[in-house]
Symmetry: C2
Subunit: 308 residues, 2 copies
């Protein structure tokens, strides 16, 4: 197995590219793919201040590292979600990464700052944990970026993530979600732009990137995610990718090229219906945004919430 670039011994095969790479040229491939995504979708401009949403996992640490390697200015944001040992452990990986490199890591703790954790909040609001977690994260990312004066929030969503989300949206033909499933969401109403620079890398590649760069990350998946639909969609796509490498890439980028514009009006209609949340000012289609409603319900003792 020889490196496509230098013909030296390869350490990894990337079937989607039908090629093998040595460590040096694999790391370059990863950086080049991120640079290409940033350029193709106008994600970041030189001099902009980026805030990377860091979970302590392979994707968010890889994207932070690559952005710095590419010369961008990027701080990290770690959200403590109160998911027991998992949160303790993932926070430690995020902090170690930042400390070793002398980077700025902003921290927000959901239990301390908002009085509830994800397991409790999900139960109180009768939401699936991943749903309560997702909306909390989106809200807190926005909030932290606005308060810190950042231009853009960076997340570590990779090709596998985006293909699985797309698959779920397509299975249910959620036109509004399809209309805004893009690698860049523009800034609006004082809320920062959101970008996904890893859309051209699979999760096997971000894991290999971290290993080869000596980046320690939390390997365990979030215990609350076990058995969720998103993982089922990933497995289904993995089975197809195994026999037809490149299918995920074609699915996601084919969507961006040839289909997403067909759903843009639906997302636009939803965007126009947005107004400021009466409680916090975040954009929402209702009176009060989903996060503030979650806070309100989660503040109620769990037992009381159940009886409502």
């Amino acid at each position: 197995m020889k490196c496509r670039v230098c013909k030296g011994p390869a350490v990894i095969d990337v079937r989607r590219h039908n090629a093998n790479f040595c460590a040096e040229h694999f790391l370059r491939l990863c950086r080049d793919q991120v640079a290409k995504a940033i350029k193709d979708f106008s994600m970041l401009a030189p001099g902009e201040r980026a805030l990377v949403a860091v979970s302590g996992g392979k994707d968010s640490l890889a994207v932070w590292d690559i952005l710095l390697e590419l010369g961008y200015q990027a701080d990290g944001l770690y959200l403590g979600l109160g998911i027991g040992d998992y949160s303790d452990s993932s926070g430690a990986f995020a902090r170690a990464f930042a400390t070793e490199r002398g980077l700025t890591l902003v921290e927000v703790d959901l239990p301390t700052d908002h009085g509830f954790d994800i397991p409790t909040g999900a139960r109180a609001a009768r939401r699936a944990p991943c749903s309560a977690c997702g909306l909390s994260k989106r809200h807190l990312f926005d909030d932290a970026a606005r308060q810190g004066g950042y231009d853009v929030v960076v997340t570590g969503h990779n090709l596998d993530d985006e293909a699985a989300v797309l698959f779920g949206n397509v299975l249910h033909w959620q036109a509004d979600y399809l209309g805004r499933q893009l690698p860049v969401l523009p800034a609006r109403d004082g809320f920062p732009r959101k970008v996904k620079p890893l859309v051209r890398l699979g999760e096997r590649e971000t894991a290999a990137y971290c290993v080869l760069r000596g980046i320690d990350y939390i390997v365990e998946e979030c215990p609350m995610a076990a058995g969720n639909k998103h993982l089922g969609y990933k497995e289904a796509l993995n089975a197809i990718e195994a026999t037809s490498p490149g299918t995920k890439h074609d699915f996601y980028f084919g969507f961006l090229d040839r289909a997403s514009h067909r759903f843009a009006d639906d997302a636009g209609a939803e965007r126009e219906a947005l107004g400021p949340c009466a409680t916090c000012g975040a954009p929402t289609t209702g009176e009060v945004c989903a996060f503030c409603r979650l806070v309100e319900r989660a503040a109620v003792p769990v037992e009381l919430g159940r009886r409502r």
Copy 2:
């Protein structure tokens, strides 16, 4: 396990409907679902002459049987594709069904009438067997219906088939295919309408229908299809359906309701580019249609064809 309708002992559960049925009410469910599909999509009008494409498998025999039960006038068409024992055996099931019931079964034999079988034709044309077979079947169905003066060609595509085809089209975002993946294709240029009355039934249901009605059908899948992508798409969707019953139905009917119109222009553009095949007159986007090109190549001895 009790029948949802009569509370008698049930013989089958249909998880998608979250219900169990006795034999009588399951058969009624199948007929009702077909009647609903016919009505919702204006597939057939009373008095029209239908030609059912019969393979000898569960789906085509079930749809033929149900159409007759619902009072429609329907003859069968069996295509001999020259796929060895499989064709001999499937033809015998189709003939037995027709003979026992005194029905008309039109027969067309690809080797006898056009000088090649599917394995040879696929090799000669360097096409995947399922691709050569599909285009041959479409051509010969059209041809037989036109010659026999039928108003409509009926095929036994079920919900599993259509969901898997849709999945393949979506994975590659084939806009023109998506624009014409409908349960009814209207008649044009003297070619008959094509309809799929089983789109509301899964393949487990059409199999159970045949068993309960005492219809003998060929259980084996076509040997040439083993390992094809379509089966991979079916497996992927089956894994999701197993944990979320109803997903396939939502995927397919959600597409028809909320997405297919977004691709209609692409299919329309292709339709407008159609002209008559210089050899046979069938609609084609080229000079000569794909079937006539296949005939031309397949007539060449296989060894010669390989060396081209």
